[in-house]
Amino acid sequence: MELLVLIKPVPDPDTRLRPNAAGTALDTDGVKWVLTGYDESAVEQALLLKESAPGSRVRAIAFGPAPRTEEILRSALALGCDTATWVEQPSGLVPDPMLSANALSWACQKTPFDLLVVGKQALDDEAGVVGPAVAERLGVADYGPVVDLRWDPAAGKFNLARAVEGGLERITASGPMVVCLQQAWNDPRTAKLQNVLKARRTTIDKVSWAEVQAGVGPAVPGTRLTSFRLPPPRTGAKMIAFKTPEEAAQQLVRLLREEAKTLP
C-alpha cells in the first residue's frame, strides 16, 4: 500500500506566541516549529497502517519555508516514514489554505497512492481546508473527521468511522482516497535515537516552486490576513470562602447557576 501523509510545521505549543508589531500576523521570531497535534496523529495513523499491511510505504509531504519544513519532515522520517517531499515555499510568500492545497496536490499527484492521510485541520490556523481541497484537486473521495481507520486485507478495502452529531458513521471505502483525521485517537510514538540520527542523513526530495507554478498555474493567495491578536488574558477568578466541603460545593453550584448561568 502506498500511503501519503501531509504535514505542516506549526509553532510549538510550549512557546509563547505574540503578534508582530503591526498586529497583522504571528511574530515568528524565536518560534520553535514542530510536528504536533493533528499532524502527529496523522503520521502515527499512516505508520500503523503501514505496519498492518507489510510491504507498505509512507511518504511525508510538506509545503512551507526552509528550514522549518525540512525539520518537520526529518521528524516524520525519524518516526518511521520512508520518504519525504518538501514542496518549496518561496520566502516572502504568505500562502492561504487554498494555495497550500494547490501546491500540495501537485506533489501528491506525482506518484500513485492508495491513501492520503491528513489532519482534519492544522494546529495553528485550524482552517480545515487542505484535506478536502487536495481531494477535490485530485478528483478522489475524502472522508472526515475520521476517528477510526483500518485496512481490511481480505476485502482490499479501508474500514473507517466518522464522528457525526450524536454518533459514529461506519464506512467501507477503497482507495485512492483522502482521510482527514480527528486528533488524538491514537497515541503518537516517540522517535528512537538511532532513527533520529538516520533521518538526518536521509535525502529529502524537493519540488521547486517553479515546478509547482508550472503545474498548477501561477499561485496567488486569495485571502490575506489583516489582523492577528492573542485572546485577552483571563480575569475574574473568584475564590470561594468555606468552612466545610459541603458548603463550598453549595456555593459553587449557586454561583454557576446565578452568576455564570452555566447550570439551569
Partner: protein, 382 residues
C-alpha cells in the same frame, strides 16, 4: 573555527531527550522521589528509545554518541529528574571500562546483550572503607588456576540491586596500592555475588543504590579487563569520560531551578508587584543565570576536548566541580525565591537541592576534583 552552537543533529537529540523528560519522567518524578520508587517502566522506555547505552558504539547496537552529544541529552533528562538520570546513564559508566579496556572478544561477548534487550550494569569501585582513595581499595582478587577468586564488599553502587553485570575493581595485593588494582566484569548470576538492600537516600530517590558483596566469587581469567595492575588507570580513564556528563546532569538540575524560580517570580506578588520586579530577586536571578551559563559552557568545552581525542582530565574536573557547585547554589537560590513554599514538598524546588547535593559527591568528590585541578595548575609553575 570555534563554534558554540549545536548542530541540527544535536538539536534533534536535544528535542528527543526533552520530550522524553517531559512526557515520561517529569509526570512521575515527584511521586518516585517521595516513595523512593525505582521507576523501571520509565527506564525500559528510555532503553527502547536508545537513551540508555549512549556511549556504546553502534557496531554493538548502542547509540554511539560523542561525549558532547551525551551531555546535550543528559542535561535535558536531568531537567526533569536528576535521580532517574543517574540510573539511566549508569550503564554508560559501568560499560565504559569494557569499551576502554576490553578486548574485541570481550566487548562482543558483553555489550550486545545490553543493546538488544533491557539490562542494567553497575560500576563497582567505591568500598565501605573509602571512595576517594581508590588506590587503597581492599577487595581482593587471587589467581587460582584459570580463575580469579574475588572477596570483598563494594558500597553506594548505583543500580546494583537491578544489575545483571558488574564491572569490579579489586587488588591482587593492597600493599601494591594503585599498582595492584585489576578490573573484571562479573555477572550477577555468578555464585557469591550478593547485592545488598536499597539504601534510603536524601536525593536521587528514583535511583537505586546498594552494597555488593563478593564472597569467593570465581571469575574466569578471560573476564579480566586488561592486565593485572591496569585497573586503576582504567578506572581513572573511565571517569575522565563520564565526569563531564555529570557536569551536564548538574547543569540540567540548575536550569530547572532557574526555570521554576523565574516563572514563580513573575506570579508571586508582594508589596504590590511581582517579586521578580524587586531588585533583590532580580540580582539573584541574574547570578543564577550566570552560574548555569558558565556551567554549561565548561561542560561543553570539556566534552569538545575529549571528543577531539584529548584526555581532558583537568577540564572535565573543572566542569564537574563548577557545575555541581553551581547546581547547589542555584537550587538554594530557587528555594529562597519561593520563600516558605520553596521549603514545602508540594513544590518542586526543594527536591532540586537534595538532588544537586549528590553531584558534589559522586564520580569523584569536589575536594578530589580540586586536588586534581590544583595539582595540574601547579605543574605549570614548578
Amino acid at each position: 573555527m570555534v563554534d558554540f552552537s549545536l548542530t541540527e543533529e544535536q538539536k534533534s537529540l536535544q528535542d528527543l531527550a526533552r520530550k522524553f523528560a517531559k512526557t515520561e519522567m517529569l509526570p512521575v518524578a515527584a511521586a518516585c522521589d517521595r516513595a523512593g520508587r525505582f521507576p523501571e517502566d520509565v527506564y525500559r522506555k528510555a532503553w527502547e528509545l536508545g537513551l540508555m547505552n549512549l556511549n556504546v558504539p553502534t557496531e554493538y547496537g548502542g547509540s554511539g554518541l560523542s561525549v558532547f552529544d551525551q551531555c546535550v541529552i543528559v542535561e535535558e533528562l536531568a531537567h526533569a529528574c536528576g535521580g532517574m538520570t543517574t540510573s539511566i546513564i549508569a550503564n554508560c559508566l559501568a560499560l565504559e571500562p569494557i569499551l576502554l579496556g576490553g578486548t574485541e572478544e570481550q566487548r562482543k561477548r558483553t555489550l550486545p546483550a545490553f543493546c538488544s534487550s533491557y539490562h542494567l550494569a553497575s560500576f563497582c569501585l567505591t568500598e565501605p572503607s573509602g571512595g576517594s582513595d581508590a588506590g587503597g581499595l581492599q577487595t581482593r582478587c587471587r589467581l587460582d588456576g584459570d580463575h580469579y577468586v574475588l572477596d570483598g564488599e563494594k558500597c553506594f553502587i548505583t543500580n546494583a540491586p537491578h544489575a545483571s553485570l558488574y564491572t569490579v575493581f579489586a587488588t591482587i595485593d593492597p600493599a601494591l596500592r594503585h599498582k595492584g588494582i585489576t578490573a573484571f566484569f562479573v555477572p550477577r548470576a555468578a555464585e557469591g555475588v550478593v547485592p545488598g538492600k536499597d539504601e534510603e537516600k536524601m536525593g536521587h530517590r528514583a535511583s537505586s543504590t546498594s552494597t555488593v558483596k563478593f564472597d569467593h566469587v570465581r571469575v574466569p581469567l578471560a573476564d579480566r579487563l586488561g592486565a593485572e595492575g591496569d585497573g586503576f588507570s582504567l578506572a581513572m580513564r573511565t571517569l575522565d569520560h563520564t565526569r563531564t556528563p555529570i557536569g551536564a546532569l548538574a547543569t540540567g538540575i540548575a536550569q530547572a531551578a532557574i526555570d521554576y524560580a523565574a516563572d514563580y517570580s513573575l506570579k508571586r506578588h508582594t508589596f504590590g508587584k511581582p517579586i521578580g520586579e524587586h531588585q533583590a530577586i532580580q540580582l539573584k536571578l541574574a547570578n543564577m543565570a550566570q552560574e548555569v551559563h558558565a556551567a554549561r559552557l565548561l561542560t561543553w568545552h570539556a566534552a569538545w576536548l575529549i571528543d577531539g581525542g584529548q584526555r581532558g582530565s583537568l577540564e572535565s574536573s573543572i566542569a564537574k566541580c563548577f557545575a555541581s557547585d553551581a547546581a547547589m547554589k542555584v537550587a538554594d537560590d530557587a528555594i529562597q525565591i519561593f520563600g516558605g513554599y520553596g521549603y514545602m514538598k508540594d513544590y518542586p524546588v526543594e527536591k532540586l537541592l537534595r538532588d544537586a547535593k549528590l553531584t558534589q559527591i559522586y564520580e569523584g568528590s569536589n575536594e578530589i576534583q580540586r586536588i586534581v585541578i590544583a595539582r595540574e595548575l601547579l605543574t605549570h609553575y614548578a
